[in-house]
Amino acid sequence: MILQIAVGLPFAVATLLAATGRRLPRIAIDAIATATVATLSVLLGLVLAGGDRTVWLGGWGEGVGISLVADAVATGLALTVTAVALCALVVSWRYFNEVQAIFHTLVLLFTGAMCAFVLTGDLFDAFVFFELMSVVAYALTGYQSEEPDTVHGALNFGVVNSLGAYLTLTGIALVYARTGQLGFVSIGRHLHGHDALVTVSFALICTGFLVKAAAVPFHFWLADAHAVAPTPVCMLFSGVMVELGVYAVARTYLTSFADAIPAEPVRVSLIAFGSAAALLGGVMCVLQRHIKRLLAYSTISHVGLLLVGVGLLHEDALAGAAWYLIGHAGVKAGLFVGAGALLNRFETVDEHDLHGRGRSMYVAGLIFLLGGLGLAGLPPSGTWAGKALIEEAGGHSILALGVTASALTAGAVLRVWLRVFRGAGPPHPGTTQHHDAETEFKLSRLPWTMLAPGVLLVLAGLLLGLLPGVVIGRAVEPFTHLPGPAPAPWTATSIASGVVAVLLAFGVAALGIRGRIPRVDLLHRLHSGHIGDYVAWLVAGVTVFGLLLLA
């Protein structure tokens, strides 16, 4: 019963908040929402401690019913979601003008949808909650709807993600036509051998998830959406929502299609999409001046690495991916808190505009410094431990990819730290574009609630590598159906690769400080903001994916 309560709680409270939001004072809305998510995390913690379990809703059983499957990976992921959501809610305590209680209602619905999405054992049900997650995400992106940019970003996000979701639904229909099953496990049990239908179905199902995971060339929406979404929403997007796409690909393949579709083409295509995202995201990240956009591209890069970790289809790499995911969630959500602090003080997130202006903001500066080190993968961060396992399973080329992506994205963040908080480098003219400060009125100083969650998140990310590897190994065993890995990240190579990445990141930052941020016309034209371009790349991406799988 505890699992049903955990799944239902955020939805129930969300509906009550929506019903009474006009009457409740703001402090009550904050308290109710925060207490709900805190309770949810306790419930999920109890589920995690109680071991793996499967619950059939309504007692219907396999064949017709829907199950909730709380294995350690799914529950751990849901717990990560609630931890980030809790921090996001605390950050939004002083957050700007609430329209009734809609912001908090939507955040609760978003949290509940993500938890239900990871915990369900049914492919169609996963799709339903995937859609709920998306609808809420579009609304949250468009929260400041008086700005034309916001509407543009939210619309691009909505169109591209809905298109991906249609393809996923088509794929589900195809596999259902073959097997008559909707449960992940039941589908796997009824798929024997592969043919065009099964392969195309797998490609289509994964497309929607890869759009969410922002794999290249499905990634265009992400930076547009992050640039305009409110800070607490960005924390949830970059920290957990995007990563759920990778989780869904892993679950779909390993649980349902592993016996039907040979591993080699899946490995090749996922590694290709992931590496492209890791490299392109890294390069685009270095080329940004808009700090939220910069962080958004770094998310694309890191989620690309995560996809490579899954794509290797190796038990150690999967354990690494799980580890990487939680480490990255902490670091990236924390960095967005830092960006939100800058936005609130100076009403701009342009790096050139902010030159030297953050000198007195010690805490925000600390978040950027530690966050940069976390992205680079300084031991013993969670990102470092996860990356070490992925690199060890992947060999030299993946090692090079991991070091490059970390050095580029961390370099960009450290450059921001040097320029904004240390006043390094010569000043450059900034933009005149100003943003909303995100609080109802200008606060005389930044309240602790808008900084402390960031510090906690970044620190958690930096220390998660200290988890014993055996815990992660045991967690992924039932998920992968592969013999339990015994991940041990503490090797000389991995420590060396972490340190090298940190040094390279400082190199990238130093180079960036000396010159202006270059404009690479080809890449800027590619990321045009034109929705037609995004759709064209999406269908082209599906074609490439399908052909790679069929070849």
């Binding site: 009550l16 809703l57 809609i102 036509a177 045009s528 269908v539």
Partner: protein
């Protein structure tokens, strides 16, 4: 990207997607075949529970959790409409002074038809909601009929009357509470088909009214500007 480049990429993707889809479609089970695995599993289950309507048994019992998700999607969309289509300050200032929605010029025949159809349509809506338990129909369909019924008042040319009979806060609360009741029913007492149909009807009807109300506000404001 230039228009030409975009079209080239789109053409490549479109052709490829069509090819993939064709390849898959040829492997689908033949039309009119005898193998219906899902039907064969779900029918005996539904009948064992003495349900008069198998579709309702699937919607509100066997797969109630899906329906819960769909309900919440509807609620989230209505909230999104309230949030994103809220009239911002600039728009309110633009509209100040010329903000009068008087009775429009409408033929008497249309007006009378509208008023005459209103009770009939509401009755039909309630009937469809209530009868979903036994026959085709149910909360979703009936809710849409109910939600549209109220707008007959607008069609009859009277926006102020429409605004009077649909106080937005009440519909917001009704929608949210209905969704909340569904959460409780779906997770704790799945299978209460009649009750679930009723709350779905309430939720869908309110959501339709709410969403349309927001679009009306926007459309009427914009029309004033021109």
């Amino acid at each position: 990207m230039s228009r030409r480049a975009r079209l080239l990429v789109l053409a490549f993707g479109g052709c490829g997607l069509a090819l993939l889809f064709a390849l898959a479609a040829f492997r689908l089970p033949d039309f009119g075949g005898t193998s219906h695995p899902y039907g064969q599993r779900t029918l005996p289950n539904a009948i064992a529970h003495h349900t008069p309507n198998v579709i309702s048994s699937i919607n509100f019992d066997q797969r109630a959790f899906d329906t819960l998700g769909e309900e919440l999607i509807l609620m989230a969309s209505a909230l999104a409409a309230v949030l994103i289509l809220r009239t911002v300050r600039a728009e309110q200032e633009d509209a100040a002074g010329k903000h009068a929605y008087g009775p429009a010029q409408v033929f008497d025949a249309l007006r009378i038809t509208g008023y005459a159809l209103l009770p009939v349509t509401i009755m039909t809506g309630v009937y469809i909601v209530a009868h979903g338990y036994l026959s085709p129909g149910g909360g979703f369909q009936g809710g849409v009929v109910l939600g549209s019924a109220i707008h007959l008042v607008y069609l009859s040319g009277d926006y102020p009357a429409l605004a009077r009979i649909r106080p937005i806060p009440m519909f917001e609360a009704g929608e949210a509470l209905a969704a909340g009741a569904f959460v409780a029913l779906a997770l704790a007492f799945a299978g209460q088909v009649t009750a679930m149909n009723a709350v779905v009807g309430l939720e869908v009807g309110s959501a339709v009214v709410l969403t349309l109300a927001k679009f009306f506000e926007q459309a009427l404001l914009v029309r004033k500007d021109t």
